[in-house]
Amino acid sequence: MRPLRALRWVAWTAFAAGILVAVVAVLTALPAYAQDAAQEPAYRAFPVIGSRLAVWAVAQLHLNFAAFILGVPIFAVIIEIIGWRTRDARYDWLSHELVKLTFAAFSTTALLGALLLFLFVGYYPKFWTYMTSIFFPTYWIYALLFFAETFTVYLWYYGWDWLSGSKKWIHVGLGVLSNLLGTSILVVANSWVTFMMSPAGITESGALKGSVWGAINNFTWMPINIHRLIANIVFGGTIAAAYAAFRFLNATTDEERARYDWMGYVGNFVALSAFIVLPFAGYWLGREIYAFNQTMGITMMGGFMSWLWIIQAILIGILFLGSNYYLWLGMERIPGSERYRKYVPYMLTILAIGFMVWATPHSLIVTLDEARAMGGTHHPFLGFFGVMSAKNTAVNLMILTTFLSYVLYRRANRLSIKPWVLTGMAIQWGAFFVAAAIVVFYGVYGYFVESIVRIGFSVYQVGAVLGAIALVMTIDVPMFRGARSTGAIRWGRIPARSQYVLILLAVTFTWLMGLMGFARSGIRQYWHVYGVMRDTSVDAVTPALGYAANVITIVTAVFFALVMFIFWLGGLSERGKAGAHGLPAPAISGGSEDDR
């Protein structure tokens, strides 16, 4: 059997098995729903590790794979459209390469989803019966969407050569459709998980009041939809970039190195673009949680989970530093970029100071002597950095700096020949400084107003940053159209450490997702459904941060082991040929100035 056919066979078999398990699990749940719940055990014990840990690990793995297969197609179809409109075969190749990764992970996602369902039905029957009593109609929608999504993606992937040329628009349409279906799956699943956090549309006894829409449209549903959608793109970008880095490091020819260097760059660019807006979506979600229930909000931000945010700040700081570092290293393959090297220390200083401010805890760990020297548990100077005014200012300045890095990278080998170039650049620099000034002004002013007014300032800060980004790019694109080139990008000629940075970014982001997932889930404390259905199992205790960190680390390691295995499987189909879908892979090395 040829490797490609073998892979297809494995994928179909695994997928069919996943669906079968899911259907069996749902059918198993139905009798439980119909019976008197009192006759059912509320919990069963999973052997050795316990039920909660089993559900936690499988849910996290499922979410990781699901985020990947939902995130990657979003930018894969955009890249395909770029290739289609510009008739550049490299983009088409890249898009196919990305969908191939998604395709390889599809069956695993379905299997893990089915396994998760199995665990709920088997080990948390009462909880599952309750969730079914609320959300049963959505199960059918979910299953139908999943079938539709699966067949659309299969058609998208296998029809790549068939639907080319004049039929390309149909193929692109399939890509768009699979994204719409994928996003719909995401929002349906989000309704279940957000209902557990912020239940709505139910009576005091927990029964559904009116239609299921009331339960779906709960307080945190839409913020989570937006947050997860953006995070999935970042996640997909980092995993695709890590895959490219892995292939780059194993490459044996310059051509292969160039190709995967370019792929890694695009993956990181996608991740970075979405990452820039991710903190804003996260902030909105945090505000909605706080507004829904102050106890929950304080547990998350000021209570026992407050130190989790310091870990988060450190991880996000690493993501910012790593992304910028990768761009700076990438400038080495661009002739003419030397003129921008002098800005690196300044940008690095802003990022480092921003990182330090963001990572300054509100609740300091102090010894008794230190507390006495400080005159309390609040430090009179560092205390200013522990509050949201300082942190919002820091993160907005870090985003602006990262954007500046990208702008410099973008124009590294180009010299504008437009007569209005000086005016254009003056406006661009002005936009940067005005945005930074607004961010700092509201950051400082925030200390002199009451909390509820200060919270509103974040909108002005975000608006200033996004406005500056929009204005700078609006000027940049026409300013550098038809620009004089100082030399072609030498794809593949980048230090190996840059590729390890891409892998580090993927691991860091995966770990971060696990951590924040724990935070989102953990703030329910001893409730399955907050305030409605109490967790009375032996695991009804919120784990300590150290324990949670260990679990997340192990799950992250397992995820990457599975990903490597799946990608290796995917690579089997390419053995002995450079192309991915019948055609030879396009040349990348020594690309034109439009490579970006």
């Binding site: 805890p361 102090v366 006495r372």
Partner: protein, 250 residues
């Protein structure tokens, strides 16, 4: 001054300078837990600085490499082979040795409040509740003054006459009494939160993040509901802080 052009020397100087500034430039001294975080960031940034381009990286690695392999650096190598293990050993000793000082505690400064509390047999909502005395703005001064009297009689011994946590008993307490002048304390909280903390005190703190070790008494047995709300009004009035208002879900 070619010495200072060496990336290696620059890196060492930046790290050393950052440590000096963070350790001795911040007054009162920053806790070690924070300095460790800051120095980790500085170290990462310096690594990025020296390796952001090939020339810089060569300049940084050059002295390290020559120290490790250059025959003329034999003596330096030998000295490092002795000094580095001693320094590591000393560090291990400082981390493991017993000290008379109590270990640092990881405390959550703002524990999550319950949705409601029992106050002398009456259920009082904590979530979403405003100070009922503020409805009558004409009596604001009267209530704040009454709250001031209650404060002087009961709270001043720990929280101080400047409301800054420096009362007479404060040096004996760990954790120290709250500093109400600090913008990170009552200014960040709704009045209902303060009501819960004053009424239930240290004994009523939730179990999360224990041990709390707070010496704050539960005032529900000594003060009436009105007196507690009055004290709260006084705290905000005297410090010039505004209580946090409730948000609504969007």
């Amino acid at each position: 001054m070619s010495l200072f052009r060496s990336r290696f020397v620059q890196a060492v100087l930046i790290v050393a300078l950052a440590f000096v500034v963070l350790r001795f430039g911040i007054r009162p001294p920053a806790p070690w837990s924070v300095i460790k975080i800051y120095m980790t960031v500085v170290f990462l940034a310096v690594l990025i600085y020296v390796s952001a381009d090939a020339d810089s990286w060569r300049s940084f690695v050059g002295p390290i490499r020559s120290t490790l392999v250059d025959p003329s650096r034999r003596l330096v190598r030998a000295a490092l082979a002795i000094v580095l293990p001693i320094l590591l050993g000393y560090y291990a000793y400082t981390q493991a040795a017993a000290t008379p000082e109590a270990p640092a505690e990881l405390r959550a400064v703002h524990p999550a409040p319950p949705g409601s509390i029992q106050f002398r047999g009456k259920e009082i909502n904590i979530s979403g509740v405003e100070n009922p005395l503020r409805r009558d703005q004409a009596s604001f001064k009267k209530h704040a003054a009454a709250g001031g009297e209650t404060y002087i009689k009961n709270c001043v011994y720990c929280h101080g006459d400047n409301l800054d946590g420096h009362g007479q008993f404060a040096p004996a307490l760990s954790p120290p009494p709250a500093d109400f002048q600090d913008p990170g304390t009552i200014a960040m909280l709704q009045e209902a939160y303060l009501f819960w903390r004053i009424a239930k005190g240290g004994p009523g703190l939730p179990r999360e993040s224990t041990p709390w070790n707070s010496a704050m008494p539960a005032w529900e047995d000594r003060l009436t509901e009105e007196q507690i709300w009055q004290v709260i009004m006084y705290l905000y009035d005297a410090t010039g802080q505004q209580p946090r208002r409730w948000e609504t879900a969007h």
